[in-house]
Each structure stands twice: as structure tokens, then as C-alpha cells.
């Protein structure tokens, strides 16, 4: 019954869909998939504990919180509002357009960023929030949507342009995997075949952000 281990996947899908306590859902999902696939309880604890300790680098962003906290206390948002007010016609959508373009170009040159930690939370989101406020106060939902879109702008640029750099880990992984599967491919042809994806994605983002701006504007005019 090797399909039983998919029960753990079911737990996580249902748990997230129902909005149950996320931390508990994740740990229970791990417990379920381990136990039904024949891993005993103590081994499960060992795998869980080791997995967590080995993945501590995922949480390295906590180190940036004191800096963000201090500049937030000292008027980061106010300064962002002042700055955006000086530049005419800068909307959240246009800020996202510019950011995603920079992100894709950076990817082309092999510059890898941890954009969410380095740029989105400390810089792009406060600017977009300020730009959104130019036409009037934002609702709580709109504030959340701008945050979400800011994070999305980073992910779009990062994912679809990542393979534009010949030395990126994903291109190397594709090449080595295809070689071991018996269908070797050239790294530079991977890059060429990725180009249309990066361009189409950017064009879609332009339209998508434009609609976002229109919606925000409409809500304020009413």
C-alpha cells in the first residue's frame, strides 16, 4: 500500500483549505505520512528533529527584524510617503512593473537575490503602500493586497527569469538531471528556450498590474 503515504498530503491540503492551525497541521501531516509508510515513532521524531535543525537557514531572515523594527519606529513609512508624493504618477502597479523588470535583468546576469527579505518587505512594500495612498486612504483589504502583489512581483521575476543565466542552479540541475536520464542537453539551449517564458511573463505582469491600479483608482474615485 505505497499510496497510503499520500494521506499526509491529504492532511496538509485539507488542513490549509479549512484554515486550521497551520503549525499543528504541518506537524500532524508529517506524523501521518511517516506512520502510514511504516516509519516508527522514534524514527519519525529523529527525522523531524533533524529536518528542522538542518533547515534553520530558512529562518535566517529573523536577523533582519531588528533593523526593520528600528527604521519602522523611526518613520520609514512616513519617509516613503514623502518620497512617493514627490514623484508624479507613481502607482503601486508601476512600482511593481519596475521591480519585476529589475528582477528579471538581475537574473539574466546571474545575480541571485533573496528578494522577499532584502527588497520587498523593507523597501518595495512601503513604497507601494505610500503610492497607493496618494488618492485616499486604503482599506485593510487593499493594504493586504498590495503586500501580496509586492511579494508576487518578486516571485514572478525570480521564477520565470531564473533560467536565463547559464550558471544558475536550476539550469545546472536541468542539465545534470537530463544527462543522468540519458537525454543530454546543452546549457545554452536551455537558456534560449527559457527566453520566451521570461518575456511572456513580463508582458502578462504589465497588464495584470495595470488592472490592479485601475481597480484601486476606481475604489477611491467612488
Amino acid at each position: 500500500m505505497e499510496y497510503l503515504c499520500l494521506l499526509g498530503v491529504l492532511v496538509i491540503v485539507v488542513g490549509f483549505a479549512l484554515g486550521l492551525d497551520t503549525v499543528a497541521v504541518v506537524v500532524i501531516s508529517a506524523l501521518v505520512s511517516a506512520l502510514v509508510s511504516g516509519i516508527d515513532f522514534v524514527s519519525f521524531l529523529r527525522i523531524l528533529g533533524k529536518g528542522f535543525i538542518d533547515n534553520r537557514m530558512v529562518s535566517i531572515f529573523f536577523l533582519t527584524l531588528p533593523t526593520i523594527g528600528i527604521i519602522e519606529r523611526h518613520g520609514l513609512k512616513k519617509a516613503a510617503v514623502n518620497l512617493i508624493n514627490k514623484i508624479k504618477n507613481l502607482t503601486p502597479g508601476r512600482i511593481f512593473d519596475i521591480y519585476t523588470a529589475i528582477r528579471e535583468i538581475a537574473a539574466l546576469f546571474g545575480i541571485s537575490l533573496q528578494g522577499q527579505v532584502q527588497f520587498i518587505a523593507p523597501l518595495i512594500n512601503p513604497m507601494a503602500q505610500a503610492a497607493g495612498k496618494v488618492n485616499g486612504e486604503l482599506t485593510e483589504l487593499e493594504v493586504d493586497q498590495i503586500k501580496g502583489r509586492a511579494a508576487a512581483s518578486e516571485n514572478f521575476g525570480n521564477f520565470y527569469a531564473q533560467n536565463l543565466f547559464i550558471g544558475s542552479s536550476s539550469v545546472l540541475l536541468i542539465a545534470s538531471t537530463m544527462k543522468s536520464l540519458g537525454h543530454p542537453v546543452e546549457t545554452n539551449s536551455i537558456v534560449i528556450n527559457t527566453l520566451p517564458i521570461a518575456i511572456i511573463c513580463y508582458l502578462l505582469c504589465l497588464g495584470y498590474n495595470h488592472i490592479f491600479d485601475q481597480k484601486l483608482k476606481k475604489a477611491k474615485v467612488k
Partner: protein
Amino acid sequence: MEAIINNFLLAFYIIIGLFFLAAAIESWRDQTNPARWGTGLFWLIFAALFALGQWLPSEVSGGLLLVIALLSLFKQVRVGHIKELSEKVASETVSRIGNWIFLPSILLAIIALVIAQFTKLGGQVGIGIAAVISLIVAMILTKSNIKVAYEDTQRMVRSVGSAGILPQLLATLGVVFTASGVGQATSKAISGLFPVGNHLLGVILYCVAMALFTAIMGNAFAAFAVITAGIGIPFVIAQGGSPVVVAALGMTAGYCGTLLTPMAANFNTLPVALMEMKDPLGVIKQQYPIALIMLLVHIILMYFLAF
């Protein structure tokens, strides 16, 4: 080099452990929080896992995570009361230093970038060193003392809360999924259901399976080898599809799935915590229209370019 990187990371984990200890102490001191003991314990356990994790037996770490899950399940973890920031301090500082307030953010970004790009220390160490330097600059710039830094550290950690630790927990879940054989089971289930031979069906199957499996595992890299071997090669390449087109587009088809899943914690869950968003799926909600259109684009491109 690797030893140096590991020493750096170890030092960073100990510092993060101290942050969590501060959050534990301040949670205990927060009399207004009905769950202050549970919340304090929650942060204390994380403090131990980060600062001492290197030396704890794995079974103990795993057991501590179960305690965390129980605390969270029984609603014993709450943010509690967090002091409002003073409007006055903000206006005063901004009128004094103006746009220099952005300097720490910009330094954070650039120093991390330079270290990742021009040294062999890597991105994680880059973030850590950049965080330390930008903190010192921020403290000098805003004339903040250690007390303010402590206050803001515990305030930020507590308000980010359990959402901040979720990315790492999800990464851990990925490890358990791998150990349980979730990968093979998924690939087998998909390839067992469909006939081989139709070009379009093969392309759709491969792209959708890449996205779906990536969404489940939260990681396109993990999906790529399994799904390409299980579906991409028999259903598309063996039918005459160009391997390079299939491989290149297959990986980015997987990224369509990354955009749709909370399992891709670094990308979709971390920003929720960092920006303290109300909706835990707020990032994914902004991403799904583009992700679905891009998946369709992948299918069309692969069908026409590969054959």
C-alpha cells in the same frame, strides 16, 4: 571555506536563539495575554532549538516540535499586547534625517548581494552579515541605544509570531515527505492513469504533473527528476519531443505550481510573516491568475516548440 560558513551560520543561529529568548521573556511579562505561559514556552523552545540545536539529539528536537504543535493546536500561542509606535518619534526622526532612513534597507540589500556575488560565503551568510551592519547603521542614524534595539527585536519577533517559523516547518515537512516516499507514489499514480502516444495529452500531463507535484512538495527541483523520469520522458521525449525544450519548459512549468502553494514557504509564506499580512494565502491569491495563464502558455509553447 565550508567550515567558515558553518561557523558563521552557527553564530547566526545562536543570535536568533537569543532573539527568541527575548520574545519568550517579554511574552511571559505580558500580563494582558491570557496564554502568556504557553506563548513564552513556545518561544523558549525555539530559542533552545536554534541556539542549542547543534548539540541536541534529533529525537529531542523532534519531541520539542511536537510540544510546539500541541501548544499551537490548543490555542496556547497568542501574540498578546504589543506597544504602539509613537507617531512623534517617527515625525521627529524623519524631519531630522529625511530619506537617510532608507539607508539601512538599501545597505541590507546591497551588502547581502555583494557578499553572495563576490565572495564564496553564499547568500545566507550574506544576509546575516548585512543584517548586522545595517542594524549598527540604523542604530547610529536614529540615535537608538541597545534598549531600543532589544525592544524592537522582541516586538518584531512576537508580531511575526508563528507565521515566521512556518517556512522552516514546511521545509521540514518536505524532508519527511521524501523519507515517506511521497514522490514515487505521486509519479506512479499519475503515469498509471493515462495512455502513452498522444502528443498533446503527453505535454499537458507533463506540465500539469510538474506544477501539481511541485505544489505538493513545495520545490520544483525535487519534482523535476521524479516527474521528468516518470512522465516527461515516456510521454513526451520518447514520442519525438525535443529533450531541451521539454526540460527547459518543464522546470518553469513546475514554477507555476510553486506560485500556487503554501508549501513553497520561502516564497509564499515568508512574505506573509515578514509583512504581517492578514490573509495567510494573500500572496498566492495575487499569484494564481498569472500562474494559471503561464501554465497554459507552457503547454502551448511545449506542444509547438518540442515537436
